[in-house]
């Protein structure tokens, strides 16, 4: 599975993230204080200005710290009842309608139907829920203010902070219930939609012999859902298997009419990967951060040269017999780049080796033919036999020369080189660490790899748990939309607040693009330059003509960039909270870092949004 933005584990992430959060909050507070104070001083004079600002700040402390849970809950319940009165159930029926007609939109020929189904339900739920909470949160307070029903609340002894929090929590409860129902229905829809069996007609089977002389039947199943499987059945036992097709297999059993394939296996998975840290080794045998670029537009994978010292090296920690038992199941999904076609009937040869990071003892455990865009599995047993090991030292460029690990003069156990049988954990794991080396054997051919492309697979997690974890990502996005919607609605009218929230949502989804636009790194330039290019019918890469006009265009864009940068920086990166891709690709969403870190990040955005919402409402006439 492709993971472009790898999150660091919680222990590594938390310290720097907390520091960055603290700095941002401090800077924001200072800017708001200075800005607010300045406006007050200009409007009412320095004395009154300072006094009023101080008063607002002083009032904020009890408002924010002494909120009553009882009053918050009362306001929450009010928000829930208000939401129900707004016929939010319509969204639920819209979702059901989408599911009913989903088959129209889903490609029956997709090679990965599970991915398509899961992608569809998760995307549909995501957009519907975000749309619903956006409208709910943005129109609620302005509506109350407009029809004056807010007075029934603010005339009671409630704090503005409680009003804001009550709304946020209320809408969150409504959204959570809706999302919960949607996720459950989606799960049923996906499981039922993908479940199928195949008939295996006796007349479609041909007798054959295995290499060991066993008698088997081979042939194809009947076609269903636009695919069929090749089957191999042991004639003696009557049991067999329908081979991998569209990412699933079936077990085949004899019944009274002949044979029948059971339900699909392998489509709805939650693989639990354990990732190592990747480094590369170049043609000269020196460690590097990156491999070779083969000119691919997408630089996710780095490449290693075939038949050279080049290798992609993953270092795994906490490797032990207690954790992985009697074998390591390694899975890889590597890229292949051929500089010549060669024999197209065969893949490019590669090898996977294990290495002891401390002693340098290295041995190939598998030589394989490459297969691109599929997950290739290698099982490394604890008891390894028939290996031909060698000692390899890692060569590290320290800037002042090369350092070898282990050192070249370090004593080696030469008897190990004559040994053929080894114990994985005893001979190749040092201090819980093990290295896996991927090498390309064929000369002038290349393998490409990124860190998530090779992992050790643990026993699978339950799919349904992972499915709900995927929905948790949507829930976090929902939380952020509610936060921004309520905050913006404290000082904007309903329509404007909704538009502003849409702006935050879109800006958040395209945060990276906005930052590149603001910093002038976007191909084709920012707003004015892009307009000029459109009018001149220039392509994105040709330089603008030199001269005063172009200088003006760039300067104007830079000015826009200065304004856009702080705005874009404060947008929450919505897409990074989306965990759907894990579910759709069949990978478990790890609690650490994905769930924990995503949750903390979401609340990191929500806290200042809530405080800002409180201040905006506090400064309004209705809340005083």
């Amino acid at each position: 599975m492709v993971i472009e933005n790898l999150l660091a584990p919680f222990s590594e992430w938390f310290g720097p993230a907390l520091l960055a959060f603290g700095i941002n909050v401090a800077v924001l507070t200072i800017i708001v204080l200075l800005g607010g104070g300045l406006v007050m001083m200009v409007r009412y004079g320095p004395t009154v200005g300072v006094k009023t600002t101080g008063k607002v700040l002083a009032g904020a402390v009890p408002d924010l710290l002494r909120m009553s849970p009882r009053r918050v809950w009362a306001l929450t319940w009010l928000a829930v009842k208000e939401s129900l009165s707004r016929r939010i159930v319509v969204v639920f029926f819209l979702f059901l309608l989408l599911l009913l007609f989903a088959a129209w939109f889903l490609d029956p020929n997709s090679p990965e139907p599970a991915r398509l189904y899961l992608g569809f339900v998760l995307t549909a739920s995501n957009f519907l829920v975000l749309l619903l909470v956006l409208l709910l949160s943005a129109f609620s307070l302005p509506g109350d203010i407009k029809n004056k029903s807010i007075y029934t609340v603010v005339t009671k002894p409630v704090r503005p902070s409680e009003v804001v929090l009550g709304r946020m929590v209320g809408f969150t409860i409504v959204g959570t219930i809706l999302l919960g129902v949607m996720s459950t229905i989606s799960l049923v829809f996906v499981v039922r939609g993908l479940d199928h069996t195949h008939e295996v007609a006796v007349e479609d089977l041909q007798p054959a012999e295995t290499r060991s002389g066993g008698s088997i039947l081979t042939g194809y199943t009947k076609q269903i859902n636009n695919h069929r499987h090749r089957v191999t059945i042991d004639r003696a036992t009557g049991q067999g298997v329908a081979e991998m097709e569209r990412r699933h297999v079936h077990a085949v059993d004899r019944n009274k009419d002949g044979y029948r394939a059971s339900g699909q296996e392998g489509m709805l998975l939650a693989r639990v990967p354990v990732y190592g840290k990747i480094r590369f080794r170049n043609d000269a045998g020196v460690d590097t951060d990156q491999g070779i670029c083969v000119g691919d537009e997408w630089t996710y994978r780095s490449f290693i040269t075939g038949n050279s010292k080049s290798a992609a090296i993953w270092e795994f920690s906490d490797v032990s017999a207690e954790r992985f038992h009697d074998s390591l199941t390694v899975e890889m999904n590597i890229g292949v780049f051929r500089t010549y076609k060669g024999d197209m009937a065969k893949g490019v040869l590669g090898s996977l080796a294990i290495r002891n990071p401390k002693t340098g003892l290295t041995a190939d455990v598998k030589v394989f033919e490459s297969k691109e865009f599929t997950t290739f599995q290698v099982i490394i047993p604890q008891k390894l036999t028939g290996l031909s090991p060698q000692y390899i030292s890692r060569k590290i460029d320290t800037g002042e020369g090369f350092q070898f690990q282990p050192a070249m003069n370090e004593a080696r156990d030469e008897s190990a080189l004559r040994q053929r049988n080894f114990d994985l954990y005893k001979d190749f794991v040092a201090d819980g660490k093990l290295e896996l080396w991927l090498r390309c054997v064929d000369g002038s051919q290349y393998f490409g790899a990124a860190q998530p492309d090779l992992y050790v697979r643990m026993p699978d997690a339950p799919f349904w748990v992972n499915f709900f974890k995927g929905y948790y990502g949507i829930w976090l996005q929902m939380l952020l939309v509610i936060g921004f919607g309520v905050m913006l609605s404290t000082f904007l009218s309903g329509g404007v607040a909704a538009l502003a929230t849409v702006g935050v949502l879109v800006g958040g989804f395209f945060k990276e693009m906005l930052l590149r636009l603001a910093t002038g790194k976007y191909l084709g330039g920012a707003m004015v330059e892009a307009t000029v290019r459109l009018l001149r019918q220039d392509n994105l890469t040709s330089p603008l003509p030199t001269g005063f006009g172009s200088d003006v265009v760039r300067s104007v864009d830079q000015c826009f960039g200065l304004l856009m940068y702080p705005l874009a920086s404060t947008m929450p990166p919505f897409d990074e909270f989306g965990l759907s891709e894990f579910v759709a690709s069949g990978y478990d969403i790890a609690w650490n870092p994905w769930i924990v870190v995503s949750t903390l990040r979401a609340f990191g955005y929500l806290l200042p949004v809530f405080v800002a919402g409180y201040f905006f409402l506090k400064t309004r006439e209705v809340a005083r």
Binding site: N109, S110, Y220, Y300, G347
Partner: protein
């Protein structure tokens, strides 16, 4: 505001709205069909009638797809924007090699723009050519080629009158599968692909034969209208009609490449000859008011010659006399250039002068007829008819040259000859022996094939065969392989090598540029300015 003015304004507004509504009703009323069969009449708004007249209504273009219609409605008029976003997403998915999402995005684009032919063409090409090439495993490559073909077929369903997609299916199956480096592997998979072929018999599961069927289907669509040129739009008609017969040629070629000679290959070439002849006999509308029959070139040439001879017979020797007069009128310098053999003309100035003189030397039928004093009326008529026949012949030749028509016609005949079949079989077996490292066997077989080729080249029926690049390129490759084989044993080509003549022709430097020889590349006259 004055209440009267306000009322007036409202009346104007309402009147304007009524007028616009009436105009809209006139333009946009839906079509209503009355009667049935040939008596069917359509009435309705102007736009509806125009749609029916030009076969542009959804139901006439192709199948109505409820999904497509729903998606179009769901975009609330922002279909263009939605397609743009999807297109961008598809490009990103392709860049990131996310093929499932890429294919899904294409499906959605196609559903939003089901009648935008270029979308179907472009994205099918992406699937069959660009995405397929990304896969290292040839099975996957094959699968993605067929996904492109499926995509085109889906497009056909939505655009039943569009021949381009049908023709593209033929091209993808033919050229992509047959001419790729992995063509042998693809063709094997294609034969075994029950899912694609359904009940089609195994012997007909050849990519070229299936491609031919699709090209024939495209021809049927084009021929279904009164003027095929309208439906062909910017396509070159002769190149379009050539596709089917060319597939049969390629099939015959691949029968031999698969190692089948004798009757099977002979019959395949015979069929190719027959289909090429039928193609040549077709009356093709090549441009406005111009129709050609490719087979008729020789007929018009003979006709032009016959009429020209009749013209010459009216006053024998006059043409030569006129040519001499023109030569005599030249300056000494011009005469020197006109008398030079073309190979000795080396400067640009001389080349240009020679070209002008060559043109000047030609006595056209018109010029000749005007000089004839007796029976001038008859002479002028003969000149007119001869010129007309010659024009026809030139026009046909222009079309034929686009596709090496004559060369392919001759190839189909020669390939049926026993000597050719024997030469190809020996050459195939020699390559096979060479692969098996049976060098002596390979050498003998190559020599056998060259002896057969010699017989083919010596045949008086095709004296200029040696100049045919189409025919000789593969033989030349065979000679190279034979030469490499000899070099391994420190041997050289024997002095009496049977194809020395071919080698000498290949080794000849290419003709110098026209400026140097004074001979225009496509100038009709080849006669010297000298009388």
């Amino acid at each position: 505001m004055n209440p009267q003015r306000s009322l007036n304004r409202k009346i104007v507004y309402v009147a304007g709205m009524v007028l616009i509504a009436m105009a809209l009703a006139q333009l946009g009323s839906p079509a209503v069909q009355r009667g049935s069969g040939s008596n069917k009449a359509v009435s309705g708004g102007v736009l509806a009638e125009l749609r029916v007249k030009h076969n542009l209504s959804e139901a006439q273009i192709g199948d109505l797809d409820p999904t497509s219609q729903t998606l179009k409605l769901a975009t609330f008029g922002l279909r263009g924007a939605a397609v743009n976003i999807l297109w961008h997403k598809a490009a990103t998915y392709k860049m990131k090699k996310d093929w499932s999402n890429f294919a899904a995005a294409l499906e959605q684009i196609a559903k939003l723009e089901p009648h935008f032919i270029k979308v179907w063409q472009f994205q099918a090409w992406e699937l069959s050519y660009n995405v397929a090439a990304e896969f290292d495993d040839y099975h996957e490559r094959y699968r993605w080629i067929l996904r492109g073909v499926d995509f085109l077929q889906e497009g056909m369903r939505h655009n039943e009158q569009e021949y381009v997609l049908v023709n593209d299916v033929g091209s993808f199956l033919g050229m992509k599968m047959g001419r790729a480096d992995e063509s042998k592997l693809y063709r094997q998979l294609f034969k075994l692909d029950d899912e694609f072929h359904g009940p089609r018999p195994v012997e007909q599961r050849d990519n070229w034969l299936v491609a031919k069927l699709w090209h024939q289907k495209a021809v049927e669509i084009v021929d279904a209208v009164e003027d095929p040129l309208v439906r062909l739009k910017k396509a070159t008609p002769v190149l379009f009609y050539r596709c089917g017969p060319m597939c049969q040629m390629n099939f015959a070629e691949f029968v031999e490449k698969d190692g089948f000679f004798g009757e099977k290959a002979m019959l395949a070439w015979k069929q190719a000859q027959e289909e090429w002849h039928q193609f040549g006999a077709r009356q093709i509308h090549v441009m406005k008011d111009v129709w050609v029959v490719l087979n008729d070139k020789e007929k018009y040439e003979a006709e032009a010659k016959r009429l020209s001879d009749q013209l010459d017979a009216l006053e024998p020797g006059l043409r030569q006399k006129m040519r001499k007069e023109r030569y005599d009128a030249l300056t000494p310098d011009e005469k020197r250039v006109a008398d030079k053999p073309t190979t000795q003309i080396t400067t640009r100035q001389e080349g240009e002068l020679r070209m002008r003189l060559d043109y000047q030397a030609i006595v056209t039928n018109d010029q000749l007829a005007r000089r004839i004093t007796k029976n001038q009326k008859q002479a002028l008529e003969l000149a007119r008819q001869s010129n007309k026949a010659e024009e026809e012949s030139v026009r046909i030749e222009q079309e034929r040259s686009l596709l090496s028509f004559a060369s392919w016609r001759r190839t189909a005949v020669i390939e049926q000859e026993p000597a050719t079949l024997a030469a190809r079989e020996a050459s195939y077996k020699a390559d096979d022996a060479s692969r098996r490292a049976d060098l002596l066997g390979a050498k003998d077989l190559y020599e056998k094939s060259f002896r057969h080729w010699r017989k083919v080249f010596d045949d008086k029926r095709w004296p200029d065969l040696i100049e045919s690049e189409i025919f000789c390129s593969e033989i030349a490759e065979g000679i190279d392989r034979y030469r490499t084989l000899l070099e391994r044993n420190d041997e050289k080509l024997p002095q009496d090598f049977p194809l020395n003549q071919l080698l000498r022709y290949i080794a000849k430097p290419s003709a110098p540029p026209s400026g140097a020889t004074g001979k225009p590349p496509s100038a009709p006259p080849t006669k010297s300015a000298k009388p």
